[in-house]
């Protein structure tokens, strides 16, 4: 990996310069613009202190629980479905068109149906996250199975392996990095979906915090919520990258 080779001392100058430039630009701009429209660093810091001692953690927690529940359920359906579709031609041809179509429906478009079917509580949000996750994970897992290196299969078969051994020893480990990649992309979409869903119908969560702060024009609070979202997204993305590097290992397709 390119970045791993960089020394901290090499990065400090450009990174520090950018952050310094951004913050001073931010401070400068906020002094000339009404803080209601564009809160400066000091306003945001005060908002952060107010929220941190209040319910920032609670909102973040609620959003995370929704995302994780839906994400796990969606992956639990998507991975076996992808394995089946990748492995068995009839199933792939039966479902490919359908899955491919549903993949392009923006999950948030389902919000009205979700609320009518599952109410305004947790179930409708979890449903939306499942919807954002399941098709992406299915398609990527299927892709992983489908693109297994044929010679690996032949090698195992030459040693006398049956279909189950081929699945266990070759197909599954080759599909894992693809499934994880699907999950990583799905996680990004899940964040976007939950924020929109919470802005539209919810009484808790980061999206609700954004919408609530909008109503009271507390722009400082909005900035805090945005930064929290950025940090959460960054952290979960890193976790998946590490998982892919760890479990993908020698099976990762070199690109």
């Amino acid at each position: 990996m390119r970045r791993a080779a960089w020394k901290v001392s090499e990065l400090a100058l450009p990174y520090g310069l950018t952050v310094l430039l951004l913050v001073s630009l931010w401070e400068f701009a906020s002094r000339r613009i009404n803080p209601l429209f564009f809160p400066g660093p000091t306003t945001v810091w005060r908002s952060f202190l107010a929220l941190a001692s209040g319910d920032l953690a609670a909102h973040v927690g609620v959003s995370l629980v929704r995302i994780l529940t839906g994400f796990l359920l969606g992956s639990l359906v998507g991975i076996p479905l992808g394995l089946l579709m990748g492995g068995i031609p009839v199933i792939r041809r039966l479902l490919d068109g359908t899955v491919e179509f549903f993949r392009f429906i923006p999950p948030i478009a389902m919000i009205v149906l979700a609320v009518v079917w599952f109410g305004t509580g947790e179930a409708s949000k979890v449903f939306l996250i499942i919807f954002s996750t399941v098709f992406l994970v299915t398609v990527n897992t299927e892709d992983g199975v489908y693109h297994v290196v044929r010679n690996r299969i032949r090698a195992v078969q030459a040693m006398g392996a049956g279909p189950w051994d081929v699945f266990r020893l070759v197909i599954l480990p080759s599909a894992v990095p693809h499934a994880l990649t699907g999950m990583r992309i799905a996680m990004g979409n899940a964040f976007s979906t939950i924020v929109s869903a919470e802005m539209i119908v919810a009484d808790r969560g980061i999206g609700f915090l954004l919408q609530d702060s909008r109503l009271f024009l507390r722009t400082g609070h909005i900035f805090v919520a945005l930064v929290a979202l950025g940090l959460l997204g960054f952290a979960t993305d890193r976790v998946f990258r590490i998982l892919i590097a760890r479990f993908g290992g020698e099976y990762v397709v070199v690109r």
């Binding site: 990065l11 450009p14 990174y15 950018t18 951004l22 429209f37 492995g87 068995i88 031609p89 009839v90 041809r93 479902l95 490919d96 068109g97 359908t98 491919e100 179509f101 549903f102 392009f104 429906i105 923006p106 999950p107 948030i108 478009a109 389902m110 919000i111 009205v112 149906l113 609320v115 009518v116 079917w117 892709d143 297994v148 279909p163 081929v166 699945f167 070759v170 990004g188 979409n189 964040f191 976007s192 924020v195 929109s196 802005m199 999206g207 954004l210 919408q211 909008r214 722009t219 909005i222 945005l226 979202l229 950025g230 940090l231 959460l232 997204g233 960054f234 993305d237 397709v253 690109r255």
Partner: protein, 279 residues
């Protein structure tokens, strides 16, 4: 994969791809995907029998509603409004992102300076900025276009950068050994090699832009498919909602296929040994 004239038994039908057995003729029939869609519509019909149209419209009710919407041009107006915002924002965002991506890919210092920005902002969903978009740009078109610009920018910039990083060194050496200077290398090797990556970035960004425009139209608009979905809720017109959802899926699929086709057409010979267009 090869098929033989052998009669299909259940065992061959369900044989995995890696099985030595021949694939059943039934599995290779062109009708299979339609059978899949048929089963889906059947299940949809059966479930809808148990519910009222205001909760779970049947396929027939959905088709009737689609016909009604098509007859009074309402659907065209909403679709047009959404597509206009999408394409304007998308074109602007890409136009901004491509030079930035090239700068990041070509110059190490630019990349290091931009990295904290891109790495941070790309994890903030565009829709979370809707409040500021409204405060800064008002409730008109420009706030929605701004969100799409934001959405497209990061995906396209990062893919452009990745494309520059993945230019095959041997291609550059080949041009240089024939006497090509820096400018020649850039025009003859770097740009054509990066095009498929740019198009891939645009294709991925397009999917996210659809989601963003729908949410933005639900939260603050009086036209567009997102608005149509959310306003239909007030009249419990779930059939309209389903029509709009299916239309969004079809448009998204169409846009994706357009970009894939474009990538293959424009970038044919420059695709790396693997597949740069893979999702």
């Amino acid at each position: 994969m090869w098929s033989s004239g052998r009669r299909a038994g259940a065992a061959t039908l369900l044989a995995p791809t890696w099985s030595i057995r021949p694939v059943a003729p039934l599995a290779s029939s062109a009708l299979v995907p339609f059978v899949g869609a048929g089963i889906l519509v059947l299940v949809w019909s059966l479930v809808s029998l148990r519910f009222h149209v205001t909760v779970f419209p049947s396929p027939l009710e959905t088709v009737q509603e689609a016909a009604r919407l098509l007859s009074n041009a309402e659907l065209f107006q909403h679709t047009g409004a959404s597509l206009f915002r999408l394409f304007l924002g998308f074109a602007l965002g890409s136009a901004l992102a491509i030079p930035v991506g090239f700068g990041m890919g070509l110059f190490l210092f630019v990349r290091r300076m931009m990295e904290p920005i891109t790495e941070f902002f790309r994890f903030i969903p565009a829709i979370a900025l809707v409040v500021f978009a409204l405060i800064w740009f008002g409730i008109g078109e420009s706030s929605k276009v701004f969100l799409i610009v934001y959405n497209a920018f990061f995906t396209v910039a990062m893919n452009t950068e990745a494309g520059v990083a993945h230019v095959l060194p041997n291609r550059m050496r080949a041009v240089q050994s024939l006497g090509g200077g820096r400018w020649d290398t850039f025009c003859l090797v770097v740009v054509p090699s990066v095009v498929p990556y740019i198009l891939t970035g645009m294709r991925l960004g397009m999917g996210r832009s659809f989601a963003t425009i729908v949410s933005a139209e639900i939260l603050a608009a009086n036209s567009g498919l997102g608005y149509l979905i959310y306003s239909s809720r007030e009249y419990s017109k779930m059939d309209t909602v389903v029509v709009a959802i299916l239309l969004l899926g079809a448009l998204g699929l169409l846009a994706d296929r357009l970009f894939r086709g474009l990538t293959r057409r424009l970038a044919g010979g420059y695709l790396p040994a693997g597949d740069a267009t893979g999702s």
